[in-house]
Amino acid sequence: MIIVNPSPQVPDRSRYFNRLRNRLRVWPWNHYLLFRTRNLSAPCGIGVLSLVSLVAALALLSAPHWALAQSHSPKKASLPREWKYQANPFAGDEKTIHEGLNLYRRRCKICHGNRGGRGPNLFATQLAGHEFLRAVMEGRDGTQMPAWEDKLSEEQVWKIMAYIIAARS
């Protein structure tokens, strides 16, 4: 799976407690902790001391880590659910088609190539109109296609489509 928006590294405090609780249920838990320290021959005392400080550290650490995770969490932009145009306003317009070509060159071609490449061949796409618009703006889960909503306007995507349709015919 492609992880473009991976979950924060340390999601929250309760998850840690839950995981810890689950692990402590597993018998023999002291063996587990000794293994965690990668010192199977260490005396039990180190295991017990490690356990005490591990519990303290994990409990208290969650605060700064929560803050760190927050500072990196991706921006949750609101997705455009309603489009300005019901159909391509630029279809067949020569000047726009050239603009669409230049947009395709700058934004799409590096992956989609002349006839597909790392991304699918857009000149053979089965997506039309709003399906295409949505795929571009929101990205495609499970692929390397990113969300373009902060980089391209709705008009620009329609222009790219106008170019693709013109080039196809």
């Binding site: 799976m1 591990l54 490449g117 990205g139």
Partner: protein, 587 residues
């Protein structure tokens, strides 16, 4: 939570962490010292540097696996990285722990004996980062020093992780990803410096190399690969073109301990249409020698002045002492995308010779035997006129691209993956080529072409006698690094999914194993408890995924001569993450 409480809590957390770490480190892997990195040549149990040793030879003195028994190699364990994007990393091994990266710079620490996952670092990356990635979300590995593991997540950051826990210790912003700066290379540690480069040559960045303090992460120096006005070489750029001229530094560097020189390769010029930046354009498509303590450039050698074909020179050079025409030479060797294998004097950048690695090179009439400067074939230079130039040989992928070749000092052979293919290029008209931060700034279309049944050729080259020795052909391009051993073996992988071993003297194929996906990473070897292992990441992606769609995969394979004892293989806790509430205990 009010601010005071939060601060107290963090302070307590800090103290608790210190106590905890203080105890656990008693038992954890040793820190990696600067001496460990410098003396890696004598350490056969680990693989500590990107190319094993600072000279980047990818040569191991291990001999347990040899031409007589290599046919008995078998997979000992494997590890699925959990996604299907390309894998390009060289694993590092230290004190029984293996550190690998996958796409999006995830880092995994694994028990090198059995593959048990010790920790996994997931970098947060912006959701639209893919809008500035020319060549996939790849990463080429980590570097080690002290108790830290260094990695560069794609959005131009340097992150230091605790090597025992994977927790972030510090992180630094290298540059602005929104302007097209990204990071894919393994960092390079020299003493207390962590040195990093940037990608983005297709987005009109101004390339640079930066050094950070290994402990604190403080920025020590920045050296731009394109000189500003007033600096030597700026006159090779017309007007303001130097600001957006490319010369990215997207692969790691090589270090010469004796002369304290750091060598770093640079990438294509931007835009690709060279007539828009008339002049040599220092230092695009070049090898730079720098002082790692100050970042000062000692000298540079430009493989492809005024590069018009995307012939990046980013593969790090291999350093070796050779005898050529009766003279002892401290050489730096590099196999270039422009189709030539270069031998330079690594002390001063003097050109020794260049040898074509493929047939039919036509972007140049030849290389000046004294200076190394190409005599460019103007008929093969695409212009800003909308006309297609075809066929240009080699295609922009090379020749040899970024992946490390290997040098076997016992024989004096360089074992080089080369690719025989061609391309067309069509420059846009000037009015269609404008710079916008974070947008493609190539100004050109290209198309790669197959020239025959085979593209990939793994070749052995006798550097001292300047002779090709053998050739293993493949229908698809070679995009993996190479490993060679004192026992007389060479290992690499192909795009069909095979990792294979050949006799380094004869090129005779001795063993192969199908990994299930194309191989774009570099094999390593290490020894634990008296047993030698071979490890490689398998996963189609990066540039090869432009051209074909073989099955994707994402798996690390480790091979050895004996299977693991079944008890040892299953021992320990395997870090299975339980889904809360999904499988409760029966009360």
């Amino acid at each position: 939570m009010d601010q005071n409480n939060s601060r107290k809590l963090r302070r307590s957390a800090f103290m608790a962490t210190l106590i905890f770490l203080g105890m656990t480190t008693l038992a954890a892997a040793r820190p990696v010292s600067s001496d460990d990195l410098m003396n890696a040549a004598g350490n056969t149990s680990d693989w500590l540097n990107h190319g094993r040793t600072y000279d980047m030879q990818r040569f191991s003195p291990l001999t347990q696996i040899n031409p007589c028994n290599v046919n008995n190699l078998r997979p000992i364990w494997s590890f699925a990285v959990g996604n299907l994007d390309g894998l390009e990393a060289t694993p590092l091994v230290h004190d029984g722990i293996m550190y690998i990266t996958s796409a999006y710079a995830h880092v995994f620490a694994l028990d090198a004996r059995n593959g048990r996952k010790l920790w996994h670092y997931t970098p947060d990356v912006p959701k639209d980062l893919g809008t500035v990635l020319c060549c996939g979300p790849v990463n080429r590995g980590v570097a080690l020093r002290g108790n830290l593991v260094y990695v560069t997540p794609l959005d131009a950051r340097l992150v230091a992780l605790n090597k025992d826990t994977g927790q972030v210790v510090w992180e630094k912003k290298i540059d602005d990803w929104k302007a097209g700066y990204t990071t894919t290379a393994a960092p390079l540690v020299i003493r207390d410096h962590v040195i990093v480069g940037v990608a983005g040559g297709e987005y009109g960045i101004r390339g640079h190399i930066k050094s950070y303090n290994a402990k604190s992460g403080d920025l020590e120096w920045t050296t731009y690969t394109i000189p500003a006005p007033g600096e030597p070489g700026n006159d090779t750029w017309p007007g303001d073109t130097w600001k957006t001229g490319g010369a990215a530094t997207w692969n790691t560097g090589t270090y010469d301990m004796a002369s304290n020189q750091l060598y770093w390769g640079t990438g294509n010029g931007a835009p690709w249409v060279a007539e828009l930046r008339k002049g040599d354009n220092l230092w695009i498509a070049a090898l730079l020698s720098l002082n790692p303590d100050t970042g000062k450039i000692n000298w540079g050698f430009q493989y492809t002045p005024n590069d018009a074909w995307d012939y990046d020179g980013n593969m790090p050079p291999i350093l070796a002492d050779i005898t050529y025409e009766g003279k002892k030479i401290k050489a730096a060797m590099q196999s270039n995308r422009n189709g030539f294998f270069y031998v330079l004097n690594r002390e001063n950048g003097e050109f020794i010779y260049a040898e074509p690695t493929i047939e039919g090179i036509n972007w140049t009439h030849g290389i000046d035997p004294k200076t190394g400067r190409p005599d460019v074939n103007q008929a093969m230079v695409p212009k800003a006129d909308g006309k297609t130039v075809k066929p240009i040989i080699p295609g922009l992928e090379g020749g040899t691209n970024w992946f490390g070749f290997a040098y076997n000092p016992c024989l004096g052979y360089a074992i080089i993956p080369t690719n025989q293919w061609a391309m067309s290029m069509t420059g846009y008209k000037p009015e269609d080529i404008t710079y916008e931060p974070g947008q493609i700034y190539m100004g050109m279309d290209f198309q790669m072409y197959r020239q025959g049944e085979t593209i990939g050729h793994l070749k052995a080259f006798d550097v001292q006698n300047r002779k090709w020795v053998w050739d293993i052909a493949s229908p698809l391009p070679f995009f993996a690094g190479v490993l060679t051993t004192k026992s007389g073996l060479v290992f690499t992988g192909d795009q069909l999914g095979f990792i294979f071993a050949a006799d380094v003297k004869s090129g005779k194929m001795l063993w192969r194993y199908q990994t299930g996906s194309g191989i774009n990473a570099s094999p390593i070897t290490y020894a634990l408890d008296g047993k030698q292992y071979i490890a490689i990441l398998s996963g189609l992606g990066g540039d090869p995924s432009f051209y074909f769609q073989n099955p994707k995969g994402g798996t690390l394979f480790v091979f050895g001569l004996d299977s693991l004892d079944s008890g040892a293989a299953a021992a320990g806790n395997w870090e299975v993450e339980h889904i809360e509430g999904a499988l409760p205990n029966l009360d």
